[in-house]
């Protein structure tokens, strides 16, 4: 019986552009920035890349459809290039395509890219587009992403009988922590330290979320080159290798949206993907065994409920853990050591690979001391695309040999 791809894929090299409002740069410039770093890190040449995947969500304001944009930008020599789109999991989907390609033996070396150029939208936030199809657009409310995710808070308060003030306190700490970590990161979009009072008092975007509960809308690209352990051992002898321990995706079945069992206070997909990822990676006690997290904090409340869905905090206990500093950079399981979507920024198609980039560099101890997570063994990345009632969740666990 199939057991997944644990230890079958090595991350040979990675690159990541500076995230932010890159007014002077096209998607291609961002991709090239990540590519140059990635190629140098992998220690290979363009001709060694046998296949490529590129993740991108809002194609209408960036790279369009198909694989041509990436191939044309880098002038990849007539190799297979595939554009993948799976909401905010698009970057991890690209990574999955490349990982499966080498794990299957079809190729020795594959490239995964993710890119998004959001600052050509013309207004703040993401464009209002029929992401769930035309019928859904007629039946769905006049909603935006913050409004859809904000409902996690009212549902969580209803389920656990927690006062909204307590939730607000916990999610304020989440944003504060991301800003603290973001200040230390030269590639991050938002690098200013801000106080918890500023966060809490920021104007409402969608009740109970304020402006500082929302992640940055950024331009950026990230990239990975993957190979098999055998090829990696030849290309990088006597070096630490970062291996994929688990790679899982779960997609809503429609149960959340049309059946009455889900209570709206968390993610059925994350729970499912986490169970499968821990099994694939051989993790029995995630709270003890996972060293660090890069999760999908599109909104602070998403991070809060995800701590429970990932089984790091027990049900109903995430606010306590958060307020106790459990997820701070010097806490037991640091979450968003790079500033997260909140401060590193969220160029949708790039985000999954940006998270993998952070875990990869943490595991290789490449960051300055002040940014390093202590004694990391396993790092987990998590993307959540769509809305709480219908979404795609991807989880990747990476580890040293």
């Amino acid at each position: 019986m199939a057991k997944g791809i644990r230890d079958k894929v090595v991350v040979l090299g990675m690159g990541c552009s500076v995230f932010g409002e890159r007014w002077e740069d096209d998607s291609g410039d961002l991709l090239l920035e990540a590519y140059r770093e990635c190629l140098a890190d992998a220690g290979i040449e363009k001709k060694d890349i046998e296949a490529a995947w590129v993740g991108n969500h809002i194609d209408e304001v960036s790279i369009g459809k198909g694989g041509c944009y990436l191939a044309n930008t880098l002038h990849l020599p007539f190799i297979p290039v595939t554009r993948v789109e799976n909401f905010c999991a698009s970057g991890t989907e690209a990574f999955r395509g490349a990982c499966y390609a080498v794990a299957s033996g079809a190729y020795d070396i594959a490239l995964a890219a993710g890119v998004e150029k959001l600052k050509d939208i013309g207004y703040g936030g993401l464009p209002d587009s029929p992401i769930f199809g035309q019928l859904s657009r007629l039946l769905s409310p006049n909603a935006t992403a913050p409004g859809m995710f904000a409902q996690l808070a009212t549902a969580y308060a209803g389920r656990h009988d927690v006062p909204m003030e307590k939730i607000k306190e916990a999610i304020t700490h989440i944003s504060w922590k991301s800003h603290q970590n973001g200040t230390k990161n030269p590639r991050a979009h938002l690098r200013r330290e801000i106080s918890e009072t500023q966060i809490k008092d920021s104007p409402f975007v969608a009740y109970p979320l304020g402006l500082f509960d929302c992640c940055g809308v950024s331009d950026g690209a990230a990239m990975a080159i993957v190979t098999t352990p055998e090829v990696a051992a030849k290309l990088k002898p006597n070096q630490d290798l970062i291996k994929v321990k688990a790679l899982q995706i779960a997609v809503s079945s429609g149960e959340e949206m049309s059946y009455n069992h889900w209570d709206g206070s968390g993610f059925m997909t994350t729970r499912q993907a986490a169970r499968q990822a821990y099994e694939e990676a051989g993790v029995n006690n995630p709270r003890e065994e996972i060293s660090m997290l890069e999760v999908h904090d599109c909104f602070s409340i998403t991070e809060m409920v995800t701590m429970e869905d990932l089984q790091i905090s027990p049900p109903g206990q995430a606010p306590e853990d958060i307020l106790n500093g459990f997820y701070d950079l010097d806490g037991q399981v640091p979450c968003q050591p790079d500033g997260g979507l909140k401060c590193f920024g969220h160029p949708i198609g790039a985000s999954g690979l940006r998270m993998i980039y952070e875990i990869y560099n943490q595991l290789l101890r490449r960051w300055p001391e002040e940014r390093l997570v202590k004694n990391p063994r396993l790092g987990l990345t998590h993307n959540l695309g769509g809305v709480p009632s219908q979404n795609v969740c991807s989880i990747c666990i990476l580890g040293t040999n």
């Binding site: 207004y123 936030g125 464009p127 409310p141 935006t144 409004g147 409902q151 009740y207 059946y259």
Partner: protein
């Protein structure tokens, strides 16, 4: 016996105090102070003549099986569509089915009674057992006009039939003439009127008595025979004169609701009739007279059945359940009378794909879901594969109308980012009673009215307006309320 089996009035929740208008615009037209007393009912940002007709129609059909309706007539002078049968949208929202006769009546504010006469004659001719007339209007006067002061928004619905008749239809008398006091050309948004003395002296004061006289002669009656005489006329002096000349007792004349709603156009005679029926006793003779390029006079006699007519939403409840619209500019914005900046998010294109709408019309218009014949799970939106993870049966579904089921809130928010003319956008997840759920807009409420677990009822509203193509699209919204005016 043929007559009225059910009735309902609908006034939108919002009231614009006429002094609010005068405070803003009295400087331009000080004479509007003459009409600045009381409130006018105003449609919410997501209401129009169709949604108000549906609101009245659903209250009227409450407790009756809508599939027994043979005809749905919609009367208005403010139809959202010139071509595309408006009555079909109303009938769809009433879940009346498609094997019916549907028609739009318009052209005059007496169209409400003309439609009612057509409904009575439809039943009298044996064309069907029941017919429902839904009338509503949302007329606009120009800023600082007399019309802006006196016109109000509202709807009314009357179901007629042969069974359970609470007021028997006894006869009618009509006058139709090209007497032009108000008019709106085919491309005009605003009402235009001739001199007020002309409207009052030659219009109301002559035509209404003529109609009353005509029906009395035709059926050999005296005005004293009527317990109530119901006619719209927003000129106080003219009403006084008409009543005096006809020798009417004060208690005989139905209040014209001018202080509560204003003149609701095509709906107004029916709205006043609904009010009159609330207080009527068996044996009462009612005379209903409409006015607009002539008159229709209809004569009814209340039956014993009115005593069994269940206690239901009353026009007076609408008067009580209201909220003040304090900002006159908000009213102008909602009626499309101000060039406002909605932001680029609001400029997103809203092409309506009619073939898609046709395929899904029952889910959209009638809020129809499905129920699994294998496991009984009720679900929305309609599914072909059962959503119950322990069932999963394929193509074993029956339709189920959810509009009258009610539901409860499972999550909610209030969104300042969403584009619209009534920020914040308030929406959330709603579980239908009996199963199924929908992420829905909430309306007629504020954030403070929402709570997880709170009951809601459903209301048919404007979902969006595609201004580029002059198209209004409708769907259902949820209203949080402990009191539910509509149930299954």
């Amino acid at each position: 016996m043929i007559g009225i089996s059910s009735y309902a009035g609908y006034m939108p929740r919002l009231r614009l105090n006429r002094m609010t208008i005068f405070s803003a615009m009295g400087w331009l037209n000080p004479a509007t102070i003459m009409n600045a007393a009381g409130d006018k009912a105003v449609a919410n940002y997501d209401e129009d003549s169709i949604t108000m007709a549906v609101a009245a129609g659903r209250r009227c059909l409450n407790g009756f099986d809508p599939s027994t309706i043979g005809a749905v007539y919609f009367a208005t002078t403010t139809a959202p569509f010139k071509e595309r049968q408006n009555a079909n949208i109303v009938a769809g929202a009433l879940a009346a089915g498609e094997n019916i006769r549907a028609a739009d009546f318009g052209g005059s504010v007496k169209s409400g009674t003309t439609a009612l006469l057509a409904a009575l004659e439809f039943v009298a001719a044996g064309s069907g057992a029941k017919a429902v007339t839904c009338a509503a209007d949302c007329r606009l006067g120009k800023v600082s006009s007399m019309q802006e002061m006196v016109f109000g928004d509202g709807g009314a619905a009357i179901m007629v039939g042969t069974a359970d008749v609470i007021a028997a239809y006894k006869g009618s008398y009509s006058i139709s003439c090209d007497f032009v006091d108000h008019l709106r050309g085919a491309n005009s948004k605003y009402d235009r009127q001739w001199e007020e003395r002309w409207i009052r002296d030659l219009g109301y004061e002559r035509l209404i008595p003529q109609a009353i006289d005509g029906i009395c002669k035709k059926y050999d009656l005296q005005v004293a025979d009527f317990a109530r005489i119901i006619y719209p006329c927003y000129y106080g002096a003219a009403r006084k004169k008409i009543n005096q000349n006809l020798g009417l007792e004060p208690g005989q004349v139905q209040d014209n609701l001018l202080m509560d709603s204003g003149d609701t156009g095509s709906a107004h005679p029916l709205l006043m009739l609904a009010s009159a029926l609330e207080d009527a006793a068996p044996g009462d003779k009612l005379l209903l007279v409409s006015y607009g390029n002539g008159c229709d006079a209809l004569y009814f006699e209340v039956t014993e059945k009115i005593n069994n007519y269940r206690d239901r939403t009353r026009v007076s409840d609408s008067v009580r359940n209201q909220a003040e619209l304090e900002n006159y500019l908000q009213y102008l914005t909602w009626r499309g009378m101000l060039p406002i900046e909605v932001g680029m998010r609001g400029e997103e294109d809203r092409l309506t794909r009619w073939s898609l709408v046709w395929r899904n019309r029952r889910a959209i218009l009638s809020l129809e879901g499905t129920r699994c014949l294998e496991c009984g799970t009720q679900q929305y939106p309609p599914q072909r594969v059962c959503v119950n993870p322990d069932c999963g049966a394929m193509d074993r579904m029956e339709p189920v109308t959810l509009a009258d089921k009610g539901g409860k809130i499972t999550s909610f928010t209030s969104d300042m980012l969403a584009a619209g003319t009534n920020p914040p956008a308030i929406y959330g997840n709603v579980d239908f009673n009996g199963g199924g759920r929908c992420m829905m807009d909430f309306t007629d409420c504020t954030l403070e009215d929402l709570q997880v677990g709170k009951p809601v009822y459903f209301t048919f509203r404007i979902k969006y307006i595609d201004t580029k193509r002059d198209t209004t699209f409708y769907f259902w919204k949820a209203v949080p309320s402990e009191e539910v005016p509509i149930s299954g």
